[in-house]
Subunit: 355 residues, 2 copies
């Protein structure tokens, strides 16, 4: 029996509702599986914590998290607490300091969900997005001059390194080789307008591609690629994109797959030097928090990705199968046009775990 230590940061808003729901599912799956157990330690780090302590997490927060096997995060963010506090004080430092340079986000239309795209079924919307998660447009470098005057200007630096670009591209090609429904890597670029960093990205992409002759590759400008998510989603196997482009494309991907309430993500440090982090694509959704209506699926599915990462792909399959059966049986939350609450939706998944 293997044991895995999981740091749980439920965070704010609906994070507090969907994280406990997901843990129920994870624990039940561990029981069924029999080969592993999760032990949790909960951290109250959040905007509430910030309002009391003046920081999102203690100064040694990252050190505290470091020995864990994984981090299971809900969502952070609270009206009134600025993003540079809530996100740059917790979420983004974890992604960055723990070298979680891969943000893996499946774009998969689950059986039992209707896509907003006319005539598109689960066979046509099923690919993986690999988002660069450590550098690029989120470099946090820049500044402002002549603040508040007519001469004011602001600069933001996008920084890409060969080191950073090569590793994310290799990850994408390996993933396509091993897991792609179609063995094709599609890169997002914008080298026609963003004329220093994106041509560099393109060059490295073509170089890395030569090392994977068994995997197809192509490139689209991000504007055309976004359009193609709508007009031809079946084209994609693995999509690889910069931090910002990946951010935009995966929210769009969540929309074509039916709801942002369903979309999971994994922030991976593939080498395992640091813990990886699993979190839904959605945020803390203060508008619906505390009302018991949040869709737990994104959090549950993120938990399934955590189990996959810990070495239990069959547990991942069990969970996704149970989610699909619950949806096919018509149990759906409000974001999916149903009436089920968080508890009901979670129970429906639990009931279908045994297959």
């Amino acid at each position: 029996m293997r044991e895995h230590a999981v740091a749980v940061v439920a965070g704010d808003g609906i994070g507090l509702e969907v994280v406990p729901a997901a843990r129920q599912v994870l624990d039940r799956v561990a029981e069924i599986h029999g080969g592993f157990r999760l032990t949790y330690r909960e951290f109250p780090w959040s905007c509430r914590y910030y309002l009391e302590h003046g920081a999102m997490m203690p100064e040694d927060g990252l050190e505290t998290l470091r020995p864990f096997d994984a981090i299971f995060l809900g969502a952070v963010g609270f009206p009134g607490v600025p993003d540079h506090v809530s996100l740059w004080g917790l979420l983004l430092p974890i992604r960055r300091e723990f070298r979680q340079y891969v943000n893996l986000r499946p774009i998969k239309l689950l059986r039992g969900i209707a896509s907003p795209l006319r005539d598109r079924g689960p066979e046509e919307i099923d690919f993986l997005c690999v988002r660069e998660n450590n550098e690029g447009e989120y470099s946090n470098m820049g500044g402002r001059l002549y603040r508040g005057t007519p001469q004011e200007l602001a600069v933001q630096n996008t920084v890409f390194t060969r080191f950073g670009v090569e590793r994310i591209l290799h990850y994408a090609f390996r993933l396509a080789r091993e897991r792609g429904r179609i063995k094709r890597v599609t890169a997002a670029t914008k080298s026609n307008g963003i004329n220093y960093t994106m041509p560099f990205w393109d060059e490295v992409f073509e170089e890395v591609a030569t090392q994977y002759p068994d995997v197809e590759h192509d490139r689209f400008h991000v504007d055309a690629l976004a359009a193609r998510f709508v007009t031809d989603p079946a084209h994609f196997g693995v999509v690889v994109a910069s931090n910002l482009f990946g951010d935009i494309l995966t929210d769009l991907g969540a929309a074509i797959a039916g709801s942002i309430g369903v979309a999971p993500s994994a922030n991976l440090n593939p080498e395992g030097t640091y813990p990886s982090m699993f979190e839904p694509v959605h945020g803390s959704a203060p508008d619906i928090a505390g009302r018991g209506v949040a869709n737990p699926i994104a959090q549950v599915w993120s938990g399934a990705m955590m189990l996959d990462h810990l070495g239990y792909p069959e547990a991942h399959g069990l969970i996704v199968g149970a989610i699909e059966r619950a949806l096919l049986d018509g149990i759906r939350t409000r974001d999916l046009g149903g009436a089920a609450g968080t508890v009901e939706m979670t129970q429906a998944i639990l009931d279908r775990l045994e297959g």
Copy 2:
């Protein structure tokens, strides 16, 4: 009888097919209208021109264009000619040097076109995108270090000025007030990740908004906004966005409105100090060029926007009405699921101009 001098740059690929088609429509509308006439001067500036002369246009190209009342552009780009030549040698300098700081792009589902979004009709997809067209992510500032080595890095600077941000926001608010189907301006931001320039953009947005108390305003992160184009397009009146965000959102907008082959754009210098330029959102489409199958609608509609800009809104209405009637009568190009070629589609529009 007013005369307007139009510089015509058909460019490459399908530009050579759709520009003449659009001119037929413009000339016929001028006849019907009776109050104005267009005189054209054609410039062969293009990638073909580059291959012969080593530049996309002569050194005094911009000076030559400057006295014109408008520029009517097809598309530039040719396989084998790098973008930094084709785009940075013609399209982008015109946008920039002629202070065409507004890129206006209607996202409008025409009657007779089916949106790829399930159950969305022309009433629900009908808004205006205002894209900042002179600064931001397309600043052309940055560089590369340690080229070709493992230490290589590339930097791109996004630069926003108060001057540039204020003027585009004022344009957007005035447009919403005067023309918005819904009097609301929605701004694209990403201040949670892009933490210098986008908070600046947000601050200026809120300041400018106070001067338009009769116009609603809201803001979304660009990831959520892209998703919302798919899940709730009816929300929007005017969307205002940075150069890059506007680029991505308008291609996505063209996709939800049925086809990139339809989407028009206007690069405006609202003060009229310099000529404005009118061009389709699509590119030169080398894959289908020379086969007579290109959809002329985007070019024709861009021409209609030119007439609107020159002071003839009723001519604009006449053209858009004729396009819609042709589509409703089932005459559609291949990108719209029909079989009509460029000539047939154009003729169908011509035939319906008298209303």
